[in-house]
């Protein structure tokens, strides 16, 4: 499968540049997920790979061969659309074989391919139905099947699960992961759902405002986000942010804020810290653990008034507030906290992320 490379990729609509100079290499047989809020340019990027949008500047290379000016059919790609885009006047079989019929494949070959893909996706009993007679999940599978039948090296998916209801989405996500094991293809997947990105992707590309904020494996993005945006985007519930001032106290670095004072002795690149000392601290909701009563030996504690307790089964999310900004904490439901409680939480120094307040870049 080819290596797909973006070189200085740009896209403008008139005077408005929406994709700014993207460089990226997607390795052989990699599942790459583009993720970001709506309007970040992820779909536009995908459509440029597909050949549905022209490239304003830069290149898209497949194994070193420039493809940005080729017709979609000559790019060796197939695409699954967000809205399925099934041909309403054709039955499932005709929908899936449309591309092959256009390419004048022999009939035996077409039916062989359609049948094998239909088998894999469980579409066999539906082959003679029209899209109007299918449920959302079935349509989604047909759209997937239509792309797979083409047997191209690269599969593009534009938010394929976003039109399904929550339960079906989780189910299809698992099916997608299983299907992924069976096929040997590059997959480029666009979604705004970070859970989908984390669970499916080999590599995640986080985009915002037409820039790539960071790319890497799900763990890399989750554990070492490059900046405040990535840190806040990846992970559910999102990371808590609070303003703090850095001070040097008896040899150790402290971050002082409203109602807390954290020791940051795990920080390595201290020379990257802003001279002004103005930082934003980031703490994941799961990193805050309730401190045992009476134990004053633990450092880095924070007492929070609980406003709301969102019970969600094994875990509960507590919502609190510091200085007007919301703080959420993920705790074991067995703790049985109630709204109105004042709870003391502790956090490990290694779980505190530090961001420069001006550049919003992470400092490790």
């Amino acid at each position: 499968m080819p290596v797909i490379t973006f070189k200085g990729l740009k896209k403008s609509y008139g005077p408005v540049e929406v994709i700014h100079d993207i460089d990226l290499v997607m390795e052989d047989n990699e599942f790459t997920v583009f993720v970001g809020p709506s309007g970040c340019g992820k779909s536009t990027t995908l459509r440029m790979v597909a050949g549905l949008e022209s490239v304003t500047a830069g290149q898209i290379l497949m194994d070193g061969k420039e493809i940005s000016h080729l017709e979609p059919i000559d790019r060796d790609i197939a695409m699954v659309f967000q809205d399925y885009a099934l041909y309403p006047h054709m039955n499932v079989e005709k929908n899936m074989s449309f591309g092959l019929r256009l390419a004048k494949y022999p009939k035996a070959e077409i039916s062989k391919r359609v049948n094998s893909v239909a088998d894999m996706l469980g579409l066999k009993p539906l082959l003679h139905r029209k899209p109007g007679q299918l449920s959302g999940g079935q349509r989604q599978r047909v759209a997937m099947g239509r792309a797979l039948v083409r047997d191209s090296s690269t599969l593009l998916m534009d938010e394929p699960l976003s039109n399904l209801d929550a339960k079906l989405r989780v189910q299809m996500r698992a099916e997608l992961a299983i299907m992924r094991e069976k096929i040997d293809k590059n997959i480029i997947y666009v979604t705004h759902d970070q859970v989908e990105a984390m669970t499916l992707g080999d590599r995640i590309v986080v985009m915002q405002d037409g820039y790539i904020q960071q790319h890497g494996t799900p763990q890399q993005l989750f554990e070492t986000p490059a900046n405040k945006f990535v840190a806040g985007f990846m992970g559910m519930p999102p990371m808590n942010f609070m303003d703090a001032m850095l001070v040097e106290e008896s040899g150790s670095l402290m971050a002082n804020g409203e109602g807390f004072s954290f020791q940051l002795n795990t920080l390595k690149n201290k020379h990257h810290l802003p001279a002004s000392g103005e930082v934003i601290l980031g703490i994941r909701p799961s990193a805050l653990t309730p401190a045992l009563a009476g134990d004053d030996s633990i450092e880095n504690t924070l007492t929070l008034p609980i406003k709301i307790c969102e019970y969600a089964g094994a875990l509960s999310v507590l919502i609190s507030e510091i200085k007007g900004s919301r703080v959420s904490i993920e705790v074991d439901s067995k703790n049985n906290f109630k709204a109105g409680d004042n709870i003391k939480f502790s956090v490990k120094p290694s779980d505190v992320y530090v961001f420069d307040r001006n550049t919003e870049l992470a400092i490790y």
Partner: protein, 291 residues
């Protein structure tokens, strides 16, 4: 419709109105049907307007040319009516076909392609439709006859009908094409379809209801049109409406035959509408995209 039809005081007036409307709309058709089944003797007599022996002789006279047997009562078989029926069917079908072919392509181009003057063209097509045919009559007659020699030919009248119907057909089809999700065309593009294949294999089947509506409209206009047909056509190419009017002479009016022709004139549009309306199924794009 009355607000409360069940209120008994309003009912008599309501029903009287209904009856009047039914008589007005159905009356002429019944008169035409009964007259077409009468001999001239019965038509003219004052006494037997409702009591008569129905006969198909008038129909036999009209269709004597195409019947497989020679009707006994017809001494001289006048081919005018059957010829006119044939002309009408030919002209209506051909002009409908040409109008639809040109119309769907023009509408697609107006909706999907960006080119200079698109908005102006889109608007003017509809404004062209506002010109009454009677205004066109004299210039069209002049140009067709003296510049191109198209008077009395099928080509001439079909051209006029196509020109007359095209703006409205484009306008109808535009609204159908706008509703075709763009993703469908993109999906076809990804499947390797060229623009013509996208149009014929994806867009046209999806807008079939629009094509059917436009076809009914075009066919009926071409079928019923009298003014231009009367001016442009000669005795060999005349359509049925012109023939009927021409057969009302000061010497002889064969009411039975005229009414039989009228009945025959009414049938093809009904059949055509019936066939075409089967294509008008709501929700043609159901299942195409999540809506």
């Amino acid at each position: 419709m009355m607000k409360n039809a069940s209120e008994s005081r309003q009912s008599p007036a309501f029903y009287a109105l209904m009856v009047a409307l039914v008589i007005m709309s159905v009356g002429p058709i019944i008169l035409m049907l009964t007259t077409s089944l009468k001999l001239n003797v019965d038509v003219m007599s004052d006494t037997s307007s409702l009591l008569f022996t129905p006969t198909l002789k008038n129909y036999e006279t009209v269709l004597c040319d195409v019947l497989w047997y020679a009707p006994e009562h017809v001494d001289y078989c006048n081919p005018t009516f059957s010829r006119a029926l044939g002309n009408s069917i030919f002209i209506a079908l051909v002009s409908t076909a040409i109008t639809l072919i040109l119309g769907c392509m023009a509408a697609y181009a107006l909706v999907r392609f960006k080119f200079m003057g698109r908005g102006a063209i889109s608007l003017t097509t509809l404004m062209m439709r506002m010109v009454p045919p009677a205004v066109l009559l004299v210039p069209v007659f002049g140009i067709w006859t003296f510049s191109y020699g198209l008077d009395g030919t099928f080509t001439g009248i079909i051209l006029v009908y196509v020109a007359m119907n095209l703006p409205f057909v484009i306008w109808i089809l535009q609204s159908f094409i706008v509703q075709v999700p763009i993703q469908l065309e993109e999906a076809a593009k990804m499947d390797g379809a060229n623009p013509l294949q996208i149009f014929f294999l994806v867009v046209l089947p999806v807008i079939k209801p629009g094509l059917a509506a436009a076809a009914i409209f075009t066919f009926r206009i071409a079928w019923n049109e009298f003014l231009l047909a009367n001016a442009l056509l000669d005795r060999n190419t005349r359509t049925v409406p012109v023939t009927i009017v021409n057969s009302l002479t000061e010497y002889d009016i064969d009411w039975g035959v005229i009414m039989a022709t009228g009945m025959l004139l009414a049938i093809p549009p009904i059949i055509f509408t019936f066939i075409a309306s089967k294509q008008i199924i709501t929700g043609m794009t159901a299942g195409a995209v999540k809506g």
